[in-house]
């Protein structure tokens, strides 16, 4: 049987949390339920699952790559333009320090941003089931489950006081 999404629209955080409780009682796995809001709510406000992520790895990878790029860029350009100034060595560390530092930070920040996009599962090319009222303060409870369970989901939504129920 195919899995299909079903969306309940709620006008308050409490009723959305009640819907979450109802879905758990109906045996819907936590991983199949998403709460869609227009602002961040405290973690666990809807009794939702914890979301593990690996974002903290990205800045370290980026910093390493940025530092390497900075060292290569500065050392190779110094060797490529061998002008002796003030009797100082051609390959000199002090002029490299700032550029290497900036390279490290730039790498860390670029990779962090890539990490945010990747870990947020963006960009989402195919629009899923959604309701525009969510950005007007309504809360969407999106359940992606077997069609056979849709009647139980609808019952849970109804009991919690959904203002609308949408199917794909």
């Amino acid at each position: 049987m195919a899995r299909r999404p079903i969306l309940g629209v709620f006008d308050s955080a409490n009723s959305a949390a009640d819907a979450g409780d109802g879905l758990r009682r109906a045996g819907i796995p936590e991983g199949d339920v998403d709460f869609l809001t227009d602002t961040p709510y405290p973690e666990g406000a809807f009794g939702e699952r914890e979301e593990p992520h690996r974002l903290y790895i990205f800045p370290f990878l980026g910093a390493l790559l940025g530092l390497t790029s900075g060292i290569l860029l500065t050392s190779m350009t110094q060797v490529a333009y061998p002008i002796v100034t003030g009797g100082k060595p051609i390959l000199s560390i002090p002029p490299m320090a700032v550029v290497c530092y900036e390279g490290t930070m730039l790498g860390a920040i670029l990779f962090t941003v890539l990490g945010i996009v990747f870990e947020s599962r963006l960009p989402k090319l195919k629009a899923g089931l959604y309701d525009n009222r969510i950005t007007d303060g309504y809360i969407g409870v999106l359940v992606n489950t077997e069609e056979t369970q849709h009647s139980e989901v609808e019952a849970a939504f109804g009991q919690a006081g959904a203002v609308d129920i949408k199917r794909e």
């Binding site: 809001t37 602002t39 405290p42 500065t74 920040i109 996009v117 999106l142």
Partner: protein, 458 residues
Amino acid sequence: MQEGRVLSTREINRDLLRSILESPRWFWPVVTVLGLILLVAAIAIGIMVNRGLGVTGLNRPVAWGFFITNFVFWIGISHAGVMLSAILRLAKAEWRRPATRAAEVLTLFSLMTAMIMPIVHTGRPWRILYWVFPYDFARGIWPNIRTPLVWDPSAILTYLTSSTLFVVIALVPDFAVLRDHTTGIAHRVYSVLAMGWEGNARQWKLQIVAGVLLSALILPVFVSVHSIVSWDFGMAAAVKSWHSTVFAPYFVVGAVHSGVSAVAFALILLRWCYGWQDYIRHEHIDALGRLLIVVATGWFYFLVMEILFGMYGREADELMVRQTQFTYWPYNFWFILFVITTYFIPVALWLSRAWRRNLWIMSLACISVNIGMWLERFLIIVPGLINKQMFTFVWADYRPSIFEYIIIGSTFALVTLLMLLFSRVFPLVPLYDVKEGDVLRTQIQIGRRTVPATFRED
């Protein structure tokens, strides 16, 4: 720090998207006037490029004048965004919410404007290409790759890229709001920008972590940028009075001083232009005023130390620069005006709570700081270069020409214009941040007092 009423999501959307979904009557006339100012500046730059830098007051030895002064000034303004946004985000200060986006965007546009100044200053802007692309010795050009001036573009480009990403990442949830409130082409554009954002728990968690993580990463870059700008001076062997060891922190604190003042003034203007009284409240301007007293006093300490330590060594070059600043007309006048406008007038005004909450007085104080901070950069650069020391035949003075005045004036029009155009297509107050503040806000009774209680975001 929780004044004002709790607003519904619809009210927040309506108020904060008004600048995008409707054009105020004053909008296009103001944009036209600013555009005309920029047109005049473009003509002035065209004439300068055609005739050469001779049309300016720059000479030998005063090779850095208004353009470089203005470059340092706008770099300074750009420090406000990250200072406010990142530090307050890390400190989880509730009152940051409406101020962060405007501050970050001011960072972007002032950085872009700052970057234009050295290009204009070259007099032959296309020669920038010689630095960007490899140029071989066989053509008689001997680029010095190890010059400290290379540090500047690397730091500024890092800061600009980071700040842009910082703004864009925080804009994604607001793009989704715009996607849901527009139709036609605008809807399609905002849909692409929103990248399919739906606001699930995972996306919000990463958005919050991202704010903290990027703040922590961008703060060291923010410190590096203006300290590197100070080393543009500190590393210049030719001018001995620029070698003070306090230059880096002195420049950074000065930048924060002028930048935060500029943000406070920009917020007051936005409140007035778009009627955002419920969002940019007196408590926010009051908090910025209190912060500025601390920053201004820290900056004043560095100013005094820079002068004292400079003179303590009794080196002839240093003493000559101080003599120029303190006794030669018109520099002595500019110096007195600089100290009064940067510290004594604004701090005196900020000491009173009632005056910090008076938006006219706060505007006056913030403008005063920025007049003073512009003069500060001028007084570091020009008296150091006019070279009243050693050999009289290299003495010179600096009289800026009308071209320089026009070009400098136009940079203020440019930043204002870019801010206005930004506000026309993107929200200048972060919607989700304001909504989150309202979700987390409640009041508790302690004894006979009702006080705000806020759940701090994770």
